[in-house]
């Protein structure tokens, strides 16, 4: 008889839904069904069972032909590559647990690497803005229980965080929000009429890239000062209407995504979005929160923060931690040819970096540690398959509101397959031997 494992945490996005139920076979080796998860989370659990899954490390020769190698060989290659490099880049960390991140950072410190996570192409500009102006934020529990004015700015949770609206932001009935979505006003700002925007009470279809102007205009409207006829393609009356809607709420939350962080103006967009939130606090309670993508990108920032004082792009090559976005960030380092080896774990820069950066990875000694075979694996010299964290390994992950949640293990990994943490510990041991720091 199959058994059901409850309170399973989904290792896909930063919403980190913790109410999944997974039906596993009698012997506990196979996932049969996944309940409560969104379609993406379900796919992640079920794909771990794929028959064509890689189980043995693969090494590429000069011509790009792959051959199977042993785990010992993979550990040796990785340790030698990191020790021989003057300035290796250790990138990723967002699809693994905090325990593995911590071991990875220990290696980075020993070999003088740059440690960067996926925030660098996601909410890195948000982190810069938070350091510039601070942030009035809250937890998703507070949003569920208190928020009656919800803004989604430059994000599309219907596609990217599919259960965010039903669990926390729009539909649930909370302690002070007993009428659920009926008592909430939803505002969406997006240049497209997205599936999220179609559900909104007010959609401001902004001209792409003009977020700074519109945020500025909202600040003006909140103060009751005059505005031009249109700003960023939005009529004055609509802006004033949105300003009044926000001011009249009991608790305003602004969620923002890549539309703000990846358009020109970047961190300045977020600076002014935070300033708008601060202004709203003169009239009501308001908070702002980034919609984090990977399920533990927030955790990576946290662990880097505890250990080195900075949340991403930490350069340890001089023996102490330096942080300088634009200089120590992955894409800038790669494009300028400033790193001489690349180690990737828990992300896929091959698919998600500009091609000019991917070309640089392809021409360097490189290792990709990932359960999937990805475009990064296709260009890296070594692909090391590992267990799925959150499915085959437990461990700590941070939700988008900085709440740590212990993920659960539901099935065993294929026999002999290491977890990220185990692989990193073996590399660390070998690095210590090579460096003579037992």
């Amino acid at each position: 008889m199959a058994k059901i494992i409850s309170d399973v945490v989904c290792p896909f996005c930063g919403t980190l839904c913790d109410d999944l139920e997974v039906k596993v076979s009698d012997d506990g080796k196979e996932i049969l069904e996944v309940y409560n998860a969104c379609v993406i989370g379900t796919e992640k659990f079920l794909h771990s069972q794929a028959e064509d899954r890689l189980k043995v490390p693969q090494m590429q020769d000069e011509e790009g032909n792959s051959k199977d190698v042993s785990v010992d060989d993979a550990v040796e290659y990785t340790a030698q590559m990191l020790c021989n490099a003057k300035k290796p880049l250790m990138y990723g960390w967002s699809s693994t647990n905090c325990e593995a991140q911590s071991v990875g950072h220990e290696i980075a410190e020993l070999v003088g690497a740059v440690v960067d996570n996926t925030a660098t192409v996601c909410h890195g500009t948000t982190l810069i803005a938070l350091q510039d102006v601070g942030v009035p934020s809250c937890t998703l529990g507070e949003v569920k229980n208190r928020a009656d004015r919800i803004v989604f700015w430059g994000c599309n949770p219907a596609h990217a965080h599919p259960r965010h609206m039903s669990r926390y932001s729009i539909f649930p009935r909370g302690f002070f929000t007993g009428k659920g979505h009926k008592a909430r006003k939803m505002v969406v700002v997006d240049p497209r009429s997205t599936d999220t925007a179609k559900m909104a009470d007010l959609h401001m279809q902004i001209e792409q890239g003009r977020d700074y102007e519109l945020l500025s205009a909202l600040r003006v409207a909140i103060r009751g000062n005059p505005l031009p006829e249109t700003v960023a393609g939005i009529p004055r009356e609509t802006i004033q209407d949105v300003a009044e809607t926000l001011k009249s709420g009991r608790f305003v939350i602004i969620f923002f995504g890549m539309g703000v962080t990846q358009s020109l103006s970047k961190n300045h967009n977020i600076d002014i979005a935070i300033s708008l939130t601060r202004d709203l606090n003169d009239y009501t309670k308001a908070a702002i929160m980034p919609m984090r993508g990977h399920y533990n990108v927030t955790g990576s920032g946290q662990v880097l923060g505890w250990q080195f004082g900075y949340p991403f792009c930490v350069d340890l090559s001089r023996g102490f931690a330096r942080y300088n976005p634009g200089d120590s960030t992955s894409n800038d380092l790669l494009r300028r040819g400033e790193v001489d080896a690349v180690f990737v774990l828990g992300s896929d820069p091959g698919a998600h970096f500009p091609i000019s950066s991917v070309k640089k990875i392809a021409h360097l000694p490189s290792v990709c540690v990932d359960p999937h075979f990805t475009p990064t694996s296709a260009v890296c010299k070594l692909h090391m398959p590992v267990a799925f964290v959150g499915v085959e390994e437990a461990g700590c992950a941070y939700r988008m509101d900085n709440v740590p949640i212990e993920t659960r293990k539901v099935v065993d990994a294929p026999e002999g397959m290491l977890s990220d943490e185990e692989f990193l510990k073996r590399v660390l041991t070998r690095v210590k031997e090579i460096k003579g720091v037992a």
Binding site: I40, Q208, N267, G293, G326, A351
Partner: protein, 133 residues
């Protein structure tokens, strides 16, 4: 053949997420992300049928993808390629000292390339890295 200018953004779609988790080497990933979503008005300007292969070119590179009718429109003049290696062939790698490439708001030209193939993700990245495309 006509060539039209559009403003390109990239981003997530639910099909992108599902197919990514199901394996980036599978045809479903190419079907979900090797596309450009355009408005009817832009199809008319281009003089192309829906589901035609097109070449998207920017200052930073070019890529062949399938042009499909947008479901999250209207947004004339704006084009959308889901995040992934196809979009990353043409987006701006400039970070302006923030570390963040400019994934949204890249001027591109689009022209019909009916006879050219849409490569799968692994082929696309490998060929681009070898300088074959």
């Amino acid at each position: 053949m006509p060539e039209i200018e559009l403003n390109l953004i990239s981003g997530r779609s639910i099909q992108q997420g599902v197919s990514m988790e199901a394996g980036k080497e599978k045809p479903a990933y190419t079907k979900a992300c090797g596309i450009i979503e355009m408005d009817d008005a832009d199809f008319k300007r281009l003089g192309a049928w829906r589901n035609t292969n097109v070449r998207v070119t920017s200052e930073y590179g070019s890529v062949v993808v399938k042009a499909v009718q947008t479901t999250q429109g209207p947004h004339p003049g704006l084009a959308f390629i889901p995040m992934g290696p196809w979009a990353n062939m043409v987006i701006s790698p400039k970070t302006y000292s923030t570390g963040m490439p400019t994934f949204k708001g890249v001027p591109v030209t689009v022209d019909v390339a009916e006879d050219e193939p849409v490569y799968d993700s692994l082929d696309l990245v490998r060929k681009a890295c070898k300088g074959e495309i």
